[in-house]
Each structure stands twice: as structure tokens, then as C-alpha cells.
Symmetry: C2
Subunit: 431 residues, 2 copies
């Protein structure tokens, strides 16, 4: 990611540089509505966005939250992806469509209305929502606006802005081209720490003009997402509405094998995952836990998440404090939870912060001088806590656990620190 | 707990009212030392405390942290409790004796020195530490002070003060007597949210003059601790040094059966657990999650901890916001982690806040008026965030999940909210 100092520079950069796979179109409109749940309030504003594939047969794959109280859009998506093809996705922000009595019927109505507008089969359209939990969608206002979507085409950058809630900047990433003849992968994501009631939702859309059958698309997406979005944690919880959707329109005419698809896809997912962590309100450091030599990659991922979720680790890093005791304590607590039988050998564990070894052979190897140097390193990785409308790339605070056992790959988990600003936006928004 | 407005009133209350089992003695001294790890700093102050049983055969039971990187005192305690009897426990604050190269040898030296001073077998003395992780104990200074402990007897209240680290007030609880002829149970605890590096440690000491064999003491302690200290969460992690020690001197001559012992013990443990949550720095609300009708009590406890550990729930409650969406989201995420096969039926779930039903039959049943009332209830449960040297009893914020299934008992989990003050004390202590 380049470095920016002005929001407009960043938007221009996205407009100029983003590679867009052929055969996809983007639309957006805004509406205003009065929430039945807030009778006295002013009207609210909602963005309606729509993502469309020209190809009559567009292989698609969806991954949804595993939260046991999924929102209506998640239930609809699970139903409609069964056949492995999609033509479009309607997205609204402001209201999440979770826990409202008519939620599923509403989602269906909106998707069907969109299908009629764009003359595609109803079963190939999703209606995806993000925003306040518990409110009913303003279905009438939305149904009035949908038929006018075709008059409002937009750029991918405008689409990625329209789906934002508390995000500080739009997030687009891409690979393939320019100058390369092969297919392109474009990803657009929304997600950040929560502010207004329950805006945790992470939505990610991947579009490619490669030729990929649905089964392969699904399989590679699971791997790519596990290494990126499933390896980050901002607020600890998976939301009721998280969703990742991939569509492969095939307009490039180039068929990709599994390995080449993964090579095209992974960096796009990794870049978006990093930006989701980085653009969270109240985030001043991105924490990067790397676990090496752990024979069980799934366990390694759980340990990494446990450490980046520890409020004691998060607050220490927020204060630029290389507090190895808290880090060791969090790892030890995670091991007792996720490896209760003690299968993982901890006797050879080393811990390094920013590549400096701080724990080895069961003892700390930190002194005042190295602590001072580490504190300076952490300070250099600190972003302005009042985030900007563009990425501030200050790198990460790397915590490296090396169990020195046999492992096929190292595991990386991203998280954010816990600052005053986080509490302010999450606790005080009503007061 | 009574209500106090002055620290001295509270201390007087403890001195006057606490019931003390016969056959135990308390001692304390302070020392100063220079930390090898902080060459330039001023001298630090450390309290040395000692708890002694007169009975030559004193049944005892110990529960220790399951953290995979236990401190030296934990390793020593596991070794020495094997025989089921203890005569005394030496406790120091300020340095935790975790991750120092000579840690175990140091703990042994101190325990043995104490054993010689009080003329009891070495194997029946523990050395317990709480404080900074990574520093070496000032063993020489401590060994000079231990032989003078017999000259410094103190009251149980003074003992409970001496073992404090970041605790805001000493914590004692008791049951049995006065006016009742039966035995007495006294508990003393230290523990609070962390402030200085790694002071998470929770230490609890239970003393009774009941006649109880070691095996029974151990069995009942496990049950009592599971329902109290294992059902609370302040910082999420178990520390490297958590320990609960029980000693049954038998001076009352009254033998207790399992049920009567539990009846005597449980309220003492519950009271101390509540105070550990309540006296955490940065705590403004005590959150009480109650899970009813969940057929699996162990799962219920995990779900309760997951909800009270959710930063989104914690910050909402800190802001007096009855944010049911976040609560439902955290429960749903917990279920997906701890009940991945979906064994628990969620279709009949109700959620109540402060006894007011807010979610039922898959939908929220909250309106603006009931939200306003709930916000007022939360406000009334808020303590002065700058905690005092005595308990402020404002009750709790109760979150009740009722799965309406068959369950032998309901499960209760306590946690604390996440306030600005928490971040300040946990992130900013160096700056």
C-alpha cells in the first residue's frame, strides 16, 4: 500500500489504479427513511448498492458467519448459493436485518425486486445488509429505489464507499494486470471495529474474470479466507451477518488451475484483511502474531487469536509497552484452553518481538535497554488514533512465537490494540 | 455487604466483625529492595506476609492456575500439597517469581527459611508470590526479614491488606458464628484487573477450624471454586500464578460432612469472587450473566465467560447502553465456538436484562421506552469509576439467558465492564 496524506489522493489512486475484471457492473443510490423503531428521530440515510455479473452462467461461492444467530441475509444466501451460480448482490448499509420478525421475507422481497429490475432469475440474487441489529429494513422505500438502480452506475471505488458503515476509508484490492494478459481478481470489503449498535459486520466481495467452476471457486475461497479474514480479530466476536461472496464471470476466457487461482487470490484477501484491521475506529497499532513450528495449524490460529484478543496484551501495545509477561500469560492461558492435554511441547518456545528474542529456555531475556528499543519500535508503528480517510501504513507490531516443532507452514493472525478511542466510540456514542 | 463512605469505616468493620477460626495466626513485615532489573530506579517496597496453622496435622488443599507457563510458586505448591497437609503459607507481593531463571530454587529457599523460623517441616510450607513477571525475587532481603516475622503478628484484615497489589481494598469474607457453636470459615483474597506489568494474579486463602480430612477438603473446594472464582472474568486470561489454598486446622473439634462444609464455604467464596470483580481498577459495572435451562453446565459457564469477555458487550454496558444486538451476537459467536455441532437448542431462547425480556421467539422485543428504562437501571448500577478504598455496592447488571431446556442448575458468571479508566491504568502506566 502506498502512503497518502489526503483522502482525495487515496480515492484518485483507487480510481486510477484498480484493475477491474471484465463483465461486472456496479450501481448505487441513496435513500432516506424514518425508522419505525425510532419514531421521534430525524430521517436516516441508507446506501443501496448493487453488483452485477453480465455472464448468464456465473459460478459463485459464499462463506457465511458461523454465529448461531445469523441474520436473514445469511439465511437467504445459504439457500440461494446451493446451485453454485449468482448474477448479482444487492447491498444496503444502516440496517442489518437481524432479529426483525419479517426479516427473511423482507430479504427475499428485495432480492426478487432486484432480479426483476435486472431481468435475471430470482434465485441468483442475494440481498445483503449491514448496520443496526433489531430494526426492520425500510422495505417500501428500498423497493421504490431498486428499479432506478440501472440509472445509477458507479465505479468499484464508489461501490466500496457505498457499502461502508463505520469504516474510515473504502477498501479495494486487486491482482493480475496491467500489462499481463491473464485474468484479474478484484476485492471490495467493508468492516471495522463497531461503533453504532452492532456494525461489526464484515462483507467481502471478490470478482474475477477467470474461468473457474463453482466447486473450485468454493474450495480455494475457503483456503484463502482461512488464511486472511479468519485469521484476524478486531472485536473478538464473529458478527451475525459476516459474509464473503466470490463470482467468476469468465470474461477473460482464461481457465485457471487451483494453484494459479490461489496465487491470484491470496494477496488480494491478505491486503483487504489488513485494511479491515487497520481502519477500525480506535485502532492505533496493528498487531501481527506469527506462530512458527506449531504442528497443528488450527490450534496455532486459535492461539494467535487468543493473544490478539487479550485485553491486557491489547492495552499494553496501545501504550507502546513491550510487556512480555502479559504476552506469555495470554499464550499460556490459550494453551490451557485449546490444548488441554498438553500435546504441544512448550519447552523449546522462543518469543520474539519485532525479531528481537525476549523469551527463551523458560526465562525472559529482556533488559531495560532492549525494552527501551522495543518501546521505540512500537511507537514508530503507531497510527494517529484519530484515523484518516485513507490508510496510514505504519507497519505492524510483530509478536513471534516459535515452538520449534515440525510444522508445514507458519500461521499469521492480525489484531488491533485497545485504545481510549476504542472505548470512546464503543461506549459513549449515546452520551 | 454493607455500604461504606469512608475507608476507615470499612477497615473498622472488618476488624470488628470478621470471624476468625481458632488455631491460625497471621504475620506481616515490609522490606525495601533494589531490583536488579531496574538498576537506575528507587528502592521498591514489598510486603512479606505469613499465615500459620497451630495444628501439627493440618489438612490442606490447593488449586492452581491451568496456565501452561506457571510461576515457580505454583510448581512448588503442586509438589508440596501432594501429601495433603500444610502448616503455613508465606506470601509476598511486588514480584511474581515467574520466568526468572532461579525461580524455583528461590521459592524453595524462602519456604525452607520460613519452616525453620516457625519450626515446622519444610515440606509443609508454601512460598506464594504476586507482582511483576520476569524479575527475580530479592531473596537475600527476604531471607533476612523472615526470621523476624514471629515478632510481627497481625490481624486477618492486616494480612488481607498486605497481600494486595492493585486491589482497591482488602477482601475478607466469613461464615459461621457468632452465636453459633459450629466451626467458622474465613476467606482472604487478592486480585483485581491488572495495572503494573502482570498483576493479574488471584490468590485466595480459606481457613476453617472444622475437622475435615484432606480428600473431602479438596473435593468440596473444587466445587466451590468452580461456582465462584472459575465463574468470573476480569481480564479474560488466567494468570501464571493464580492459586487457591484451603487449610482445615480442626480446632473447633466439630467434624463437618460434605454438605455442611459446602454450605459453610460457598457463600464465603461467592462474596470474595464478587469483590474481586468489583474492586478491579477501571470497573464501573459488575456484569452478572445468568444461564438457565442449558443442559450442559460446563458449556453454560463457557458461554457466560464469552459474553462477559466480549469487548463490545463490556463497552456497551460501560456506556449504560442495553445493547441487545451485541449481547445476542456474543452469545451466538460463543455457541459457534463451544457448541460447534449445535447440540443446544436455541429456538426457545429468551434474553432478559434486569428481568425485562428483550428477545424472544427469534426477535427482539425492545422499544425506545423500555430501552430508556434499562439505560436508567444500568446507570443506577454504575460505581464511581475512580474506585474507593471500600466496596461501593451498586448491585450488578444482570443478563439472563434462558434456553428453557432441562438443566440441573442455573449458572452464574461475573465480569466487569470496559471503561476509559481500564485503558488508562492498563495502557498508560509508563507514559
Amino acid at each position: 500500500m502506498l502512503s497518502f496524506t489526503e483522502e482525495q489522493d487515496y480515492l484518485d489512486y483507487l480510481d486510477r489504479q484498480a484493475r477491474v475484471p471484465r463483465g461486472f457492473r456496479f450501481y448505487r443510490r441513496s435513500i432516506t427513511f424514518n425508522a419505525a423503531e425510532r419514531p421521534g428521530d430525524e430521517a436516516y440515510r441508507m446506501n443501496l448498492s448493487y453488483l452485477h455479473s453480465d455472464a448468464v452462467e456465473t459460478p459463485a461461492a459464499v462463506m457465511t458467519t458461523t454465529n448461531r444467530f445469523p441474520g436473514a441475509p445469511v439465511i437467504l444466501a445459504r439457500e440461494r448459493i446451493a446451485a453454485g451460480h449468482l448474477r448479482g448482490v444487492l447491498v444496503n448499509n444502516k440496517v442489518a436485518n437481524v432479529g426483525a420478525e419479517t426479516g427473511l421475507a423482507d430479504a427475499r422481497r428485495l432480492a426478487d425486486c432486484t432480479a426483476h429490475t435486472f431481468a435475471v432469475p430470482e434465485r441468483q440474487i442475494l440481498s445483503v445488509s449491514t448496520g443496526v441489529i433489531g430494526w426492520r429494513l425500510p422495505v417500501n422505500e428500498m423497493e421504490s429505489a431498486i428499479p432506478r438502480l440501472p440509472d445509477s452506475p458507479c465505479s468499484p471505488r464508489e461501490f466500496s464507499q457505498a457499502i461502508m458503515t463505520t469504516d474510515r476509508y473504502p477498501k479495494l484490492a486487486w491482482s493480475g494486470g496491467p500489462g499481463e494478459p491473464g485474468p484479474v481478481m478484484l476485492g471490495a470489503a467493508k468492516g471495522a471495529g463497531m461503533v453504532e449498535p452492532n456494525l461489526a459486520t464484515m462483507l467481502v466481495f471478490f470478482l474475477t474474470d477467470a474461468v473457474v467452476p463453482p466447486v473450485l471457486l468454493d474450495r480455494v475461497q475457503r483456503r484463502v479466507v482461512n488464511r486472511s479474514f479468519n485469521a484476524l480479530s478486531v472485536d473478538g466476536d464473529q458478527s451475525t451477518s459476516d459474509m464473503v461472496v466470490a463470482m467468476a464471470g469468465g470474461a477473460s476466457g482464461v481457465e485457471l488451475n487451483e494453484r494459479d487461482l490461489e496465487t491470484l487470490w491470496q494477496p488480494v484477501a491478505d491486503a483487504l484483511a489488513l485494511e479491515i484491521v487497520r481502519n477500525g475506529e480506535g485502532t492505533s497499532h496493528v498487531i501481527e502474531v506469527i506462530i512458527r513450528g506449531c504442528p497443528d495449524a488450527s490450534l496455532a490460529r486459535k492461539l494467535g487469536r487468543h493473544v490478539v484478543d487479550s485485553p491486557l496484551v491489547k492495552t499494553a501495545i496501545s501504550g507502546n509497552d513491550p510487556n512480555v509477561g502479559r504476552i506469555l500469560g495470554a499464550l499460556g492461558d490459550g494453551l490451557s484452553r485449546f490444548d488441554p492435554e498438553g500435546r504441544i511441547d512448550t519447552s523449546r518456545l522462543t518469543i520474539a518481538l519485532a525479531e528481537r528474542v525476549v523469551y527463551r529456555d523458560g526465562s525472559f531475556v529482556l533488559n531495560q535497554e532492549s525494552e527501551r528499543i522495543l518501546a521505540g519500535t512500537f511507537q514508530a508503528a503507531a497510527m494517529d488514533p484519530v484515523l484518516k480517510g485513507y490508510p496510514q501504513d505504519r507497519g505492524t507490531v510483530p509478536i513471534i512465537f516459535d515452538f520449534r516443532g515440525e510444522a508445514r507452514e507458519s500461521v499469521r493472525v492480525l489484531g488491533s490494540d485497545l485504545s481510549h478511542e476504542y472505548i470512546r466510540v464503543n461506549a459513549d456514542y449515546r452520551t
